[in-house]
């Protein structure tokens, strides 16, 4: 996974894409790689998981070797015009950007190509060993990553048409680029992940590395605990109601784990087993974003060590 140079981390909203991307980036940087991690939507969750208020288009060095940025299509357009069109830009781009924003909304794939183009550019120029993308949620992601293919079929001439080729080449090369889907063991995320793989395969020949199950609840050792007859052995009858409450608590946690296992099994059945990895849920005391990143980094490390 971390041997590729462009890794897209996607999944349904709320499954922890940003946290997993932050953890992967931290682990790769700890291994001595020069890492760029990029948030594609403007929610700012990646910043939170990296312990920052916000991220800019210009990468910030979070820790040695770990750089983070937030995608911004206006800045990307500015850079693009400067690098490729050699049109001098004097002062603000705002009036142009407004018009551009409009056409970009109207002309499909233009906005997406600027975002994906920037990532591909960083990969091509080898400014970093690995670019990890905290990508859009599954639905928008397919449109984004297949933008060069889509645009190539719509625009046959012009600079964009020439530009889409090298981007597609990078994105389609399984040694360079791959997609990792994050999922939580719940119904909708699982359904959406299965759909994502299908839709992605139809839209573009990008490699699909596999699935990471995030927030897997711990196993509850409930042997004998949930058996109501065992209440009789409680030392004093006054404690019986407390004990039976404790048993309900235990049963609730066990059911939560059982539900999660059911969805994990469904995923494992649908994907090849070796391509599904599981990251344990953080303990309730580790709920701050930076604590979650630290926890997930340990989990990612455990998984990577296990694969060797």
């Amino acid at each position: 996974m971390l041997t590729r140079r462009l890794v897209f981390v996607t999944g349904k909203g709320g499954v922890g894409k940003s946290a997993v991307a932050a953890a992967l980036a931290s682990v790769a940087a700890a291994d001595g790689k020069r890492v760029l991690v990029c948030e594609m939507d403007d929610k700012g969750s990646l910043a939170a998981y990296l312990g920052r208020e916000e991220l800019q288009f210009v990468p910030t060095e979070i820790s040695p070797n770990l750089f983070a940025m937030a995608m911004n299509t206006e800045d990307s357009l500015r850079e693009y015009i400067r690098l490729f069109l050699r049109v001098p830009i004097i002062g603000s781009l705002t009036p142009l950007a407004k018009i551009f924003d409009f056409v970009a909304n109207a002309a499909p794939a233009v906005k997406e190509i600027l975002a994906v183009g920037k990532l591909c550019y960083e990969v091509r120029e080898r400014h970093y060993d690995i670019v990890i993308v905290d990508a859009e949620a599954s639905g928008h992601f397919v449109a984004q990553v297949s933008a060069p293919d889509a645009l190539a079929s719509l625009v046959r001439i012009g600079i964009v048409a020439d530009q889409t080729k090298w981007m597609s080449d990078l994105l389609h090369d399984p040694h360079v680029s791959t997609v990792l889907a994050v999922v939580t063991p719940e119904e909708m995320p699982v359904v959406e992940t299965l759909e994502l793989r299908e839709r992605l395969a139809k839209a573009t020949p990008i490699d699909f590395a596999g699935v990471v199950i995030n927030r897997m609840p711990a196993v509850i050792d409930d042997a004998g605990v949930a058996d109501p007859t065992s209440v009789d052995s409680a030392p004093r009858s006054s404690e019986q109601s407390a004990i039976s409450m404790s048993m309900s608590v235990c049963a609730w946690l066990a059911e939560r784990r059982a539900n999660a296992e059911r969805y994990a099994t469904q995923l494992a059945d649908s994907f090849e087993l070796s391509n599904v990895e599981t990251l344990a849920e953080a303990s309730p005391t580790e709920h701050a974003p930076s604590a979650i990143t630290a926890h997930l980094s340990r989990e990612v490390r455990r998984v990577l060590d296990g694969r060797e």
Partner: protein, 385 residues
């Protein structure tokens, strides 16, 4: 778990909120149970009031659709059977592509324009791929639902996170779009377009980026689209005022996760900035109160039994108590985290509604009703302006 629900009575403040609303727009980050909450509110309203309720959803979970007895939830409005309901419930999903086609069919000035739009390559790509195209369609559907006279209450489940805001802004954007200089430029004859000084920087860049052929495709599409300006703008204005009406209420759903709450708070602020009526924040997926309450005390009690030197505990019994202690400690920690999350949500100054984590519990309309009836409002202090 569901045996505890039998005695539950619905929250009266929540019921009056449902009673006084004609539209409830449900927003929230992804993965917090937004769609389920919207459906539960719909079931609750249709059960307790003699109202015709419509739930408009963007993407229902399969199991939720099954729970509502819906085989295929397409663009059509599907009646949902409810036991012992005073009102009726209808469910509909918004399919972007077919909604756009319907809209073009409805507003095109003549058959020729209609067919040319429907067959336009750019139109097809736009409606099936263009992310924001969904927002305009929601606008159109809201108009139909409210002005069609078929419903007394419309519950709208919006797309996750800030995409909800672009739905709310869509009517205004649509209006601006038709009155924009850019549209006039794009749809002007090529000759005058090239002469227009204002267009120069744009066309220099646009031509070089996209190629002139693609630009004329865009122009052709917009020229056709402009023929529908009148009715579309009129509707957008009407929906814009519907969204601001007294009887249109907004609810933000969140989980107790810090990152979800951060996003929910952003939505709360943005709704307020737009002067929308934020009726409630639903703190969802909380550990059930009956389990969390007193967990720490029970853990301490169990630990005392474990430490008791008098009663010689048999190893299996000791093991059992240890497991129970671990579970109680776990639930106490989750419960404490959720408690402080709810406290922080209360500081946002809106009515707080708490919803419990029900795992895989939603299997039929009865369980949706039970979910709706288990929602609880919390009294909070008034927001300091």
């Amino acid at each position: 778990m569901s045996t505890d629900d039998i005695a539950t009575l619905p929250d009266h403040r929540l019921l009056s909120l449902l009673d006084e609303s004609r539209m409830i727009i449900v927003c929230g980050p992804g993965g917090v149970g937004k769609t389920t909450t919207a459906a539960a509110l719909g079931v609750l309203a249709a059960t307790h009031f003699a109202k015709r309720v419509l739930v408009l959803t963007v993407d229902p979970a399969r199991r939720l659709a099954t729970a509502l007895g819906l085989v295929a939830l397409g663009n059509a409005e599907v009646p949902v059977h409810l036991d012992r309901a005073r009102g009726t419930l209808t469910m509909a999903m918004i399919d972007t592509k077919s909604s756009w086609d319907d809209m073009v069919r409805r507003h095109a000035p003549d058959e020729r324009t209609r067919d040319r739009v429907l067959e336009n390559e750019l139109y097809r790509t736009l409606t099936s791929r263009f992310v924001h195209s969904h927002d305009y369609v929601v606008t159109e559907r809201l108009f139909e639902a409210r002005e069609g006279g078929g419903y007394d209450l419309v519950v709208v489940d919006t797309p996750p996170s800030r995409s909800a805001l672009s739905v709310l802004d869509a009517p205004r954007r649509m209006e601006q779009f038709f009155s924009s200089r850019l549209l006039k430029l794009l749809t002007a004859p090529t000759q005058s377009r090239l002469l227009s000084l204002a267009s120069r920087p744009f066309f220099v860049v646009a031509d070089r980026i996209l190629g002139a052929a693609f630009l004329s495709d865009i122009a052709e599409f917009f020229t056709l689209f402009r023929t529908m300006e009148g009715p579309i703008v009129a509707r957008s204005r009407r929906v814009g005022s519907l969204l601001a009406e007294e009887s249109t209420k907004y609810a933000v759903v969140t989980s107790p996760e810090p990152v979800a709450m951060r996003e929910a708070k952003f939505l709360v602020d943005e709704l307020r900035r737009r002067n929308h009526r934020l009726a409630a924040v639903v703190a969802n997926r909380l550990v059930p109160v009956r389990l969390g309450d007193g967990a720490l005390k029970r853990a301490v009690g169990l630990e005392a039994s474990l430490a008791d030197p008098v009663g010689q505990l048999a190893p299996p019994e000791r093991r059992r108590l240890e497991v129970l202690v671990a579970c109680e400690r776990e639930i106490a920690a989750i419960s404490a985290q959720h408690g402080s999350a709810v406290q922080r949500i209360a500081d946002w100054g809106a009515l707080v509604v708490t919803g419990e984590d029900r795992g895989g519990d939603i299997t039929d309309t009865a369980s949706l009703l039970a979910l709706g009836e288990s929602l609880r409002t919390r009294v909070t202090t008034e927001r300091q302006e």
